[in-house]
Symmetry: C2
Subunit: 378 residues, 2 copies
DNA sequence: CTCTCTGGTGCAAACGATTGTGCCAATTGC
DNA sequence: GCAATTGGCACAATCGTTTGCACCAGAGAG
């Protein structure tokens, strides 16, 4: 290991192996290794090793116009849902020598635009967008420029992008079915923003389920959040409860909205779950330790990330290929926030005390909705 | 706005303005603008505008050996503490045209090394390390190479790096004082890893406070976590409670450990806070909604990020200057997890009012006590 | 009227890699 | 034994910028 001020360059390696830099380059690159003789390849590799040569990614990017970097846009990194997803993404990408540039946009289109442009300028090889709205100029632009893009968690019909997300309608149907099985009939919904696929699909799932059970839904039973935030959850929860005396259960558009809703319960002196049951969506980390532990719809976070990575790698690799729409199956997680309707004693809820029950609050019953995991393709 | 397949390059701008590319470069760069005449500068700027010219950061990096990029190493992105910090960091950096590369290391030195090298290869202009251990070869290397580095949340004495962190000892002293004021005397501590400044300082704060109140601390009262994780919190909580019948309060090394400890409470049938009070450290998001809401020590997360950014920008800008050690003041946040010692009614837990027995743990530990758990490093 | 400055530009060489093209030998085929 | 093929390598251009240096015109000084 020779020491020098400046890191070894390809010329250095070439010189050490007494070949031309071009030859050294070919010898070192897997794709072109077969263009040089066995013997020189060995000599070059050995020299590179000895000098501790590390190719300069910047120079390489400049020449090849690819960076082995992908841009990942996250709507809200403060939402604990995303870290595990990102982790899956990074792990999978790393296996293929890619690194992820994380950018959070706070749901702000201007900010998203900025980050997106920044990343394009840095020659990212593709994008994973968890920020997609149903129509967005970023998607238009990406389509036109034929950028490799994968949508994650959210979808956007009409764009030629692969996507991986949860079967939202199915998840919400399971949630509603669960509440109905507990005797609830007056069920409200805090809908996520309707320009986001998850907001739309979950609302649709809610309305479908109710309708198919012949449970009427009037306007006061659905309020629309403008963002998937605690603050909006608080506001919508307040509105829903104040406009609707008889509500006994709430389906929230996601966990953040549900948690926000907890605040509304506190404010209005509504006890959860005795007075009102609530169920969320996402099963984000720590949600099982809330007061009360939130019933919710789970999907495999980490895998969402790895699958998104897979789809993007496919796209980057082949350039073409079929557009794949991948759904992961949701799973209903029943915890303490949903109980049978009507006057009742809730023995265990109150009790941090009831620890003799074998099932600690953190342990939930998992009801699988679908067989087998989602699969690629088709 | 001229449309072409490929984005406008500096040559294009130069051609459009009928000057040499070099001149165009000078005209466009604030630092060298005064080298060209007013008139040409205007012409070039106008042409650049018209062509929608965006300088290619890759090419620029190659030439200037700086990337306007900083590497940020986070020990665990799943910890909700970090997103707000990172956000502060990014916001402040963005104001100065820098972007942050986030890398999470999972507390794994190998992974940290990998990410670090990757980032160096990409010519980041500096590092913000939230992963520092008291001695690490990465810090050694950064020192030797004279890299601009700022330590965030953690410190490491003996290295010439600026840092911003919390006054951990003061925070823990406040926590202990709070517990003592509630009548607790048998107080345990779940110590963070002792090769990390926070673990060490908080333990020191704990021991100091106890000692200064003439409260003896024997070995069974302190257990050592090997990581700041839920799993370790669970394990240590279990060990602490099993080895110590009379414990009435726990000071956890951070919030994650405290939450893990909640799991141990459930397992062992210990009620919190009736039987045992617990206090954490960090006041991470959502911790106020746990069951029970966790008392903890808060510090301003976002500001930790912005201050780290400030320090790094200083360092990058001037290259030299004094090394600054910045502490943010902690603040005690009292919530539901800490109550006065002894038999008591916890009012809002209806139906459990008769639970006043001071915690005779169902399981009497026959397991001999073990002193400090294995520690990292040295 | 010549000489010396000095703004203002152009020229060309970097930065560190990849890659199309062409040359030289050695091998093969007849 | 000679022509055609081909494997292996070197040459040089290129990616898009920045920057040291040289050059040139005009201004001011003597």
């Amino acid at each position: 290991m020779a020491l020098s001020d400046r890191p070894a360059t390809l010329r250095d390696v070439a010189a050490a192996a007494r070949v031309h830099p071009a030859t050294a380059s070919r010898a070192l690159n897997p794709g072109t290794r077969l263009l040089v003789s066995e013997e020189t390849a060995r000599r070059v590799t050995e020299a590179a090793e000895r000098l501790g040569y590390r190719p300069n990614p910047v120079a390489r990017s400049l020449r090849t116009r690819r960076s082995h970097t992908v841009g990942v846009l996250i709507p809200d990194l403060n939402n604990p849902l995303f870290p595990p997803i990102v982790r899956g993404l990074e792990d999978r990408l790393a296996e293929h020598g890619y690194v992820a540039l994380i950018g959070n946009t706070d749901g702000d289109p201007a900010r998203e635009r900025m980050v997106f442009d920044q990343m394009r300028a840095r020659l990212v090889d593709g994008f994973v967008l968890a920020t997609a709205t149903l129509h967005s100029d970023i998607l238009d632009e990406a389509t036109e420029a034929d950028l490799p893009v994968v949508l994650m968690n959210r979808t956007a019909e009409g764009y030629p992008f692969s996507s991986v997300s949860v079967d939202n309608e199915q998840g919400v149907r399971a949630a509603v079915a669960h509440l109905i099985s507990l005797g609830h009939t007056r069920i409200g919904h805090i809908a996520g923003p309707q320009d986001i696929s998850t907001g739309l699909a979950r609302l649709r799932g809610f309305l479908d389920s109710m309708r198919s059970r012949n449970l009427p839904v009037d306007d006061s039973q659905v309020v629309y959040a403008t963002a998937l935030s605690l603050a909006e959850g608080l506001r919508c929860g307040r509105e829903l409860l104040e406009g609707n005396d008889e509500l006994t259960a709430i389906v929230a558009g996601n966990d953040m909205l549900a948690v926000g809703c907890y605040g509304a319960f506190d404010e209005l002196g509504v006890r959860c779950p005795q007075d009102v049951s609530i169920i969320g969506f996402n099963d984000m980390p720590f949600i099982d330790r809330l007061r009360p532990p939130l019933s919710t719809v789970r999907f495999p976070h980490y895998q969402l990330g790895t699958e998104a990575a897979n789809l993007l790698l496919e796209r980057i690799g082949t350039g073409g290929g079929p557009v794949k729409i991948l759904y992961l199956a949701p799973e209903l997680i029943v915890r303490g926030s949903t109980v049978p309707v009507g006057p009742q004693v809730v023995p265990d809820l109150a009790g941090e005390g009831d620890a003799r029950e074998p099932a600690a609050p953190a342990v939930a019953s998992a009801v699988p909705l679908r067989r087998g995991q989602a699969r690629h393709g088709r």
